[in-house]
């Protein structure tokens, strides 16, 4: 479980996040949704420690990531896996080295054990026989899969995904969503996903936080989202005709 309390963040005098609090649950797909530029990525980066919030705290199972000791922070980092928008694979390393990298940095397992774990994770995301390929040689969807393998290789308790299906064709996007969904419930991970894809929201939104211009406007489940009476949320959810036809009969 991750709790955030009163997070605010500005860049050079321009406030991006306003006093955001909320809870993200274990074994669930926790979504942060909202249109582009509302601060979803900035919020996620504050949670994983890439930015430090100006105010507020982030707690991983009661351990503060902001005010805790360096020892605590180090331990929390070991428990975090993150999937970036484009995969963020290291260009100079092949697929196997990319997935193995967190193990090299964070553990002192013997080499053959690491390789076993890497192969297990690559297989889990449906990739075999590409260990020695370079990132430039594989497709966008495969890069995301490798990114997921790298994110889960050190058995994280917390998984973060920034727009996991953006830039992919709808079919591949759904496959990636399903993979994240399965992994989350399979290993009881606290997963936080940033997205603006309504399909993902309906399919996998166990717990949803809606942001607008840096403020939290609504929090709930995917069953509740189509029934909410928050105008801004409805505008976001029913932005497409298809969604309107499906839910507003």
């Amino acid at each position: 479980m991750i709790e955030i309390n009163n997070i605010s963040k500005s860049f050079k005098g321009k406030q991006v996040l306003f006093d955001i609090s909320g809870t993200f649950f274990k074994g669930k797909n926790n979504l942060i949704i909202g249109s582009s530029g509302t601060g979803k990525s900035v919020l996620l980066k504050n949670i994983v420690g890439l930015f430090t919030p100006d105010l507020g705290d982030v707690k991983y199972n009661e351990r503060s990531f902001i005010n805790g000791s360096e020892q605590d922070r180090k331990q929390i980092r070991r428990e975090i896996g993150m999937l970036f928008q484009g995969g963020a694979l290291f260009d100079s390393k092949n697929i196997e080295e990319n997935v193995k990298f967190p193990l090299d940095i964070l553990t002192d397992f013997p080499e053959d054990e690491k390789i076993d774990r890497v192969n297990f994770c690559l297989e889990r995301v449906g990739l075999v026989n590409i260990n020695k390929k370079m990132p430039s040689e594989i497709s966008g969807g495969m890069k995301k899969r490798v990114g997921i393998a790298r994110a889960i290789v050190n058995k994280p308790n917390y998984l973060f995904c920034d727009e996991p299906n953006s830039g992919l064709d709808p079919q591949t996007g759904i496959k990636i969503d399903n993979l994240i969904k399965e992994i989350t419930s399979e290993y009881l991970i606290t997963t936080i996903i940033v997205t603006h894809d309504m399909n993902s929201v309906i399919e996998m939104g166990d717990h949803i936080m809606f942001l607008l211009e840096g403020k939290k406007l609504w929090e709930g489940t995917n069953d509740e989202i189509t029934k909410s009476d928050v105008k801004e949320l409805n505008d976001f959810v029913f932005a497409t005709q298809l969604m309107k036809q499906m839910y507003l009969r």
């Binding site: 980066k45 994983v48 420690g49 890439l50 922070r73 180090k74 980092r77 070991r78 975090i80 993150m82 970036f84 928008q85 484009g86 963020a88 694979l89 290291f90 260009d91 990298f101 967190p102 940095i105 964070l106």
Partner: protein, 243 residues
């Protein structure tokens, strides 16, 4: 001025929260191959031709019967050691290595590879930049020494094959009144210039924001700023050590 402060903070961050020693040895070795070995060809070509051209032009300008032939190679030698090798090759080094450092780090920044490192708790500036700076500082002085040798070699062939001066005169000239300190001076320059090029280019690349267009801009600005810094440092060192 603000960016100068940010540059010094960045330099400080290279030395905090480091990885293990063996990690750095591995990374530095890799970078030495990148910056040193891969620059051999361009440095070699440029040096040989600079040597040839300098010899011919010096000979052309010294058309007095009272000046002995060996003065030509003496002039070529001093120009090579004091200016051509450390400084001119530094400009080329900035163009080749500086732009590639800025391009690589800029790309890593905009594709979130740097964020990926930071999430794992790695100090990305130290992990990515320190090996590059150290590799440049190790390899560039060697390239300069090699370049001095190749300039003298280029000069030798240009001078003797075109009949400007005899091989005996050329070899006498390059040994005549040789000041050993000049070599030390060249090495000091090389150390300072390579540090400036590597650190400025890393700084420009590391703090890239935006997209591929900005990576290109960061590369260009890395080369421009490195060259300016090298020329300013060249002037300052000349004042300091020769004045």
């Amino acid at each position: 001025m603000r960016s100068l402060g940010k540059y010094f903070i960045f330099m400080g961050s290279l030395f905090t929260r480091r990885e293990t020693f063996s990690t750095y040895i591995r990374l530095i070795t890799q970078e030495c191959i990148n910056v040193g070995y891969n620059s051999l060809f361009i440095v070699g070509i440029v040096s040989v031709f600079m040597g040839a051209v300098t010899t011919i032009q010096t000979a052309f300008n010294l058309v007095s019967p009272f000046i002995p032939d060996y003065v030509i190679s003496l002039v070529v030698r001093d120009m090579a050691i004091l200016e051509l090798s450390p400084t001119i090759i530094a400009i080329i080094f900035a163009g080749k290595v500086g732009s590639s450092i800025a391009g690589e780090l800029g790309t890593m920044r905009i594709t979130e590879q740097i964020d990926a490192l930071e999430v794992m708790g790695i100090n990305a500036s130290s992990y990515l930049v320190l090996p590059k700076v150290i590799a440049c500082v190790i390899m560039y002085p060697m390239l300069v020494i090699l370049s001095i040798f190749l300039i003298l070699l280029g000069g030798y062939f240009a001078g003797t094959l075109t009949g400007i001066l005899s091989s005996v005169d050329y070899l006498y000239g390059i040994r005549y009144e040789f000041i050993e300190f000049n070599i030390t001076f060249a090495v000091i320059k090389a150390l300072v210039f390579s540090f400036l090029i590597a650190s400025i280019s890393s700084y420009k690349g590391f703090f890239t924001t935006g997209g591929s267009l900005e990576v290109g801009k960061a590369s260009t600005s890395a080369v421009t700023n490195s060259c300016i810094a090298v020329l300013l440092a060249d002037y300052a060192l000349a004042q300091l050590l020769m004045g």
